[in-house]
Symmetry: C2
Amino acid sequence: QIDSARLWGSIHETAQFGATAKGGVRRLTLSSEDKQVRDWFRKACEDAGLEVHTDALGSQFGLRKGRDMSKPPVGIGSHLDTQPTGGKYDGILGTLGALEVIRTLNDAGIETEAPICVVNWTNEEGSRFAPAMMASAAYVGDFTTDDILSRKDIDGTTVGQALDSIGYRGDKPVGFQKLGCFVELHIEQGPILEAEGKTIGIVDSGQGVLWYDGKISGFESHAGSTPMPLRRDALATLSEIVLAMEAIARKHGPKAVGTIGEAVIANPSRNVIPGEIAFTMDCRSADGAIMDALDRDLRAAIAEIAARRKVEVKIDLVWRKPPTHFDSKLVAAVENAAKTLGYSSRRITSGAGHDACNLNTVMPAAMVFVPCKDGISHNELEDATQPDCAAGTNVLMHTVLAIAGV
Amino acid sequence: QIDSARLWGSIHETAQFGATAKGGVRRLTLSSEDKQVRDWFRKACEDAGLEVHTDALGSQFGLRKGRDMSKPPVGIGSHLDTQPTGGKYDGILGTLGALEVIRTLNDAGIETEAPICVVNWTNEEGSRFAPAMMASAAYVGDFTTDDILSRKDIDGTTVGQALDSIGYRGDKPVGFQKLGCFVELHIEQGPILEAEGKTIGIVDSGQGVLWYDGKISGFESHAGSTPMPLRRDALATLSEIVLAMEAIARKHGPKAVGTIGEAVIANPSRNVIPGEIAFTMDCRSADGAIMDALDRDLRAAIAEIAARRKVEVKIDLVWRKPPTHFDSKLVAAVENAAKTLGYSSRRITSGAGHDACNLNTVMPAAMVFVPCKDGISHNELEDATQPDCAAGTNVLMHTVLAIAGV
Ligand SMILES: NC(=O)NCCC(=O)O
Ligand SMILES: NC(=O)NCCC(=O)O
């Protein structure tokens, strides 16, 4: 059994780095708050006897030796960055839970056959730089390191510049740390476990993701003197797209979601009809065929709206992550650990993307979910209970012991 | 006849202050570009022999003496500020046209009975600070000077601070310069004159304006893991409001327009359902009963949308300007001048608000319109011809001569 109070203390201690007035955390990737939590995490890993290295994209790897160093390490961990209006658990539970596993093994004097590697992946959230799960995507070869280093945030700062500004461009090449498998603990970020009164979610699959950049070019004109029929209003166009996206996701529901989270009017003014809007779109489904249908329906709807309103709408698919089917043996190992420990559980699909989804494309990967209050995540009110967080960490530890060998 | 080439030269010389790449002007009120054009204008007025004073809200008054100084001056002019994506004529033609009238009278050695006062009103556009036609509204007593001085732009800068930062908080109290009447020359900013091949618009009325500040409070949550039916999406709510506004304006059309020109998502992120949006609304009609109906319909539609989507929407009416009916004698004087000069003309309603609409509430006021290309305004592509600008300035001069007396 892990030390529930120590885990809880770590979560709340690090929540100070970027704490918001509403009780959440604002810790955008590679920000000064992210540097603070990285420094804390490195020291905590070193104090736990881990050998810590940082790769060229800033991901942190803390290695605990095993008896047989020829075996690839069992990877555990998650991320410490958050959304602009993020909570105290998303990513953090999985990273500090992994640290807690190491601390518990140390206290118990347990040596494993295979080494164990604790990981804090850079930019899982995808809020400051696209795509999400950026560093693990480069790790598995979906993108080159140079490509990722050149990605820009909204102010034009590149990933490379941001890494340098906080001193976290590591000296190890991406992929330097081989892993044999990866297990990630996370809050569910959805309402199912809580609603069904289950403590552990055995994650067997994950939704695929489509991310688009969009741009609407209408025509700026006077709000008072331009007759309604002559307008080419970019905001009215966006409004139709938002509602079309909602209708399309509902049509394919409950196995699909669609969201427009960002929209910026260029040169806004109260008495000017909006002429230009940049926006982004996020669509998901766990079913590849539905993803294709979402893409098709969305493009058709947008083309119709643009033609009817005589505005130009450009859509650019910037990221396509196929649905994930986690490794069946590793999923069974998680299920077995939950049963052995006596926790109620169920199989579950992840609505969110996770670094484990990327790693699963090149090695066995699996995930452990615990409930979160009202299914709320990406919100400062995100909440989870101490017993549930401890239960998930125990399942993580016992899964690791089963794989790594004692 | 005024000097068409000199007028054209002044318009294009001052267009350098805030010139944009697309051939427009970005000269927000009380910005450094506004200071440049104000300095230019003061010097030009002084060179034309006017006595120039600035009031506490930065409006510039250039007085030309008349034979009978006991008579109140005839006011002419407009404004030199522009929209973020503004053109070279909106306001500028009326202000530099007024200067051209003075220069022409000087050249011809014409003395008038009543004095003439050229005015550049501060913040006609209402883009940086609300309301529009701000300084003329204070002049006629709709707002106190202190109230206006405390209005803030989006960065929190007050009108008072902005005036000080460019050195244009004048030493004269608002209202120091009495005027007997006011005549404003302006581009139409709409398509009617051009479509009908008329050179001069005799403006007999103007639309009333309703300005609202709005705030939507939904709930931020995860774009991937929040099922569609559980969302309280602020952007989807805004989208319905935008389309409701459009439908309501069309329902009361062609005598109504409605626009949402500004909308800002708080803490936007690609994979977060928008939780909070601030926005503004602009509705207009020349018919007071339709204005009331717009307000009623809009509030009802918003209440229904908010209740159905379980989000909070707050609406605050920040400005209500009733429809304008210009002084019939002064309108007739404009019409007479146009006829005498042989220009084709028609009576017309102004879609935009103008300082003359404010002044009309306390003194006789009227306006002269000239065509603009494709009715485009509040756009960098705004355009007008040199002959039309000259024609409008001639009508302005002959109207002034008729009222002031030679
Ligand atoms: N777990 C999580 O919230 N990931 C963020 C990436 C995404 O799913 O949008
Ligand atoms: N003339 C003009 O464009 N005025 C701006 C104020 C408004 O009508 O919105």
